[in-house]
């Protein structure tokens, strides 16, 4: 267990008015690890993602990326330091072409590119997510899953140290789900470090090394996947009896 720690969350707390959305949360992600972040609706998962990516500011606590405190930085700086993300509600750039959407992820981010080099990299990524054929099309024609693929390609364009995927698999039907899981598998095989928020247990089981379970803003379990999902507390709060 001496793999280097990529991300360290230290007693992170986030308040919205009177509501404690994230309460004194601690966890780490080590290199090449795929971490599942799960929990009931409203337990604070997206908020954690927002805190890591800088979309929201912590109320207290700190977040470190490879020892460097990033929780006091604005989102764009965090992105430049190597954290990329996708959004729970897909956000694509509608007036840009598909390829420009991907390039946008790599021009200002961690590994920067511009000009022909950027185009090549983007085409390569599009091929990887299966969108090569649509590279020069406007984005309006994309179906939902293609939008999700596009967002993933954009997040990868900066070649980030840490990738945050917020319910990237949600809304896919079983067949598409299979494709999606395979795609993330391939990222895992590349050795990427990923935090995955999902409600799809099949995906969590097959993709994650470890998972952190949240409920009402606090961590209720943290550990190896199969074991964690058997935790009675997790079953009570999240899985329900039927899935157990």
């Amino acid at each position: 267990m001496s793999k280097p720690v990529v991300l360290k969350v230290n007693s992170a707390t986030k308040r919205f008015g009177g509501l404690l959305a994230v309460n004194n949360l601690d966890f780490e992600v080590t290199e090449h690890e795929v971490l599942g972040l799960i929990g009931p609706n409203g337990s604070g998962k997206t908020t954690v993602m927002n805190l890591i990516s800088g979309a929201l500011k912590l109320s207290s606590g700190e977040i470190r990326l490879e020892e460097k405190i990033v929780s006091d930085l604005p989102a764009y700086k965090i992105s430049q330091l190597g954290i990329s993300r996708t959004f729970q509600l897909v956000k694509i750039l509608p007036t840009l072409s598909v390829i420009d959407n991907v390039i946008s992820g790599g021009v200002f981010g961690y590994h920067r590119m511009w000009g022909e080099n950027a185009e090549e990299t983007a085409l390569h990524l599009l091929k990887k997510v299966g969108l090569a054929a649509l590279a020069f099309k406007p984005t309006e024609q994309l179906t939902y899953i293609d939008q999700k693929r596009l967002e993933l390609a954009r997040a990868l364009a900066g070649n980030p140290k840490l990738l945050l995927l917020d319910e990237w698999l949600a809304g896919l039907n079983p067949t598409e789900l299979q494709i999606g899981i395979e795609l993330i598998h391939s990222l895992r095989a590349e050795g990427r470090t990923i935090i995955l928020v999902e409600h799809v247990m099949d995906a969590i089981r097959s993709l994650c090394d470890r998972c952190v379970v949240m409920s009402s803003g606090v961590k209720i379990a943290d550990g190896e996947v199969a074991e964690t999902l058997k935790n009675p507390e997790v079953i009570r709060a999240y899985l329900g009896d039927s899935d157990a």
Binding site: N41, G42, Q88, T143, G171, P174, T175, A237, D243
Partner: protein, 235 residues
Amino acid sequence: MLRIENMSVAYGHHRALDNVSMKVDSGEIVVVLGANGAGKSTLLKAIGGMIPAGNGFKASINGLQIQNKKPHTIVEAGIALVPEGRGVFGELSVGENLKLGANPKRARKHENKNLKTVFDLFPVLARRKNQLVRTMSGGEQQMVAIGRAIMSQPDIMMFDEPSLGLSPLLTTEVFKVLTLLKKTGVGILLVEQNARQSLAIADRGYLLENGHIGQSGLARDLIEDEAVRKAYLGG
């Protein structure tokens, strides 16, 4: 009873729905399955009057013609839609959302009775009556949306992927609620990605492929169907 005949919808040149016909009886759950972009949401929105459908189609509920009507008229006629993304009023409180649900004239005199039903189904809403819906979690908002639809005293309820983004626990909850609603005599038209769980509670099902109905039948037959298993149940 809801009856749709020859419904077609186009976005510009793109034909999202092509001559779809279907019906939903009271007291039954009908599930519509289909890939992303197959046109499921379009179907529900078109029935609900939120997007215009092409000429020549007919829609009726209990014999009342509702084609080309505005959403508010269709709600009055007894069809309630819980749309994709819930469509709740984030800036209003839970109570106000529910009260607005009882806005149709047909529902006003049943307001108190329906409110009790909703609170029985979702006790958490009773406790959070004054909370702004925007500040609630996804699952709670889903409850508000369903509750609001119940408040409008519908004969037919339409759900667009009600389990989307819900935890396994809540998903099970929601499907339980659908069965309870069905027992009160409401007809339910359910659009879902979660084929396994939705077919399990449904009476009948339609498969929507590229805007037209590919297959239809009793739910228990569909579950057994080889093609269906392959496409929608993951092998």
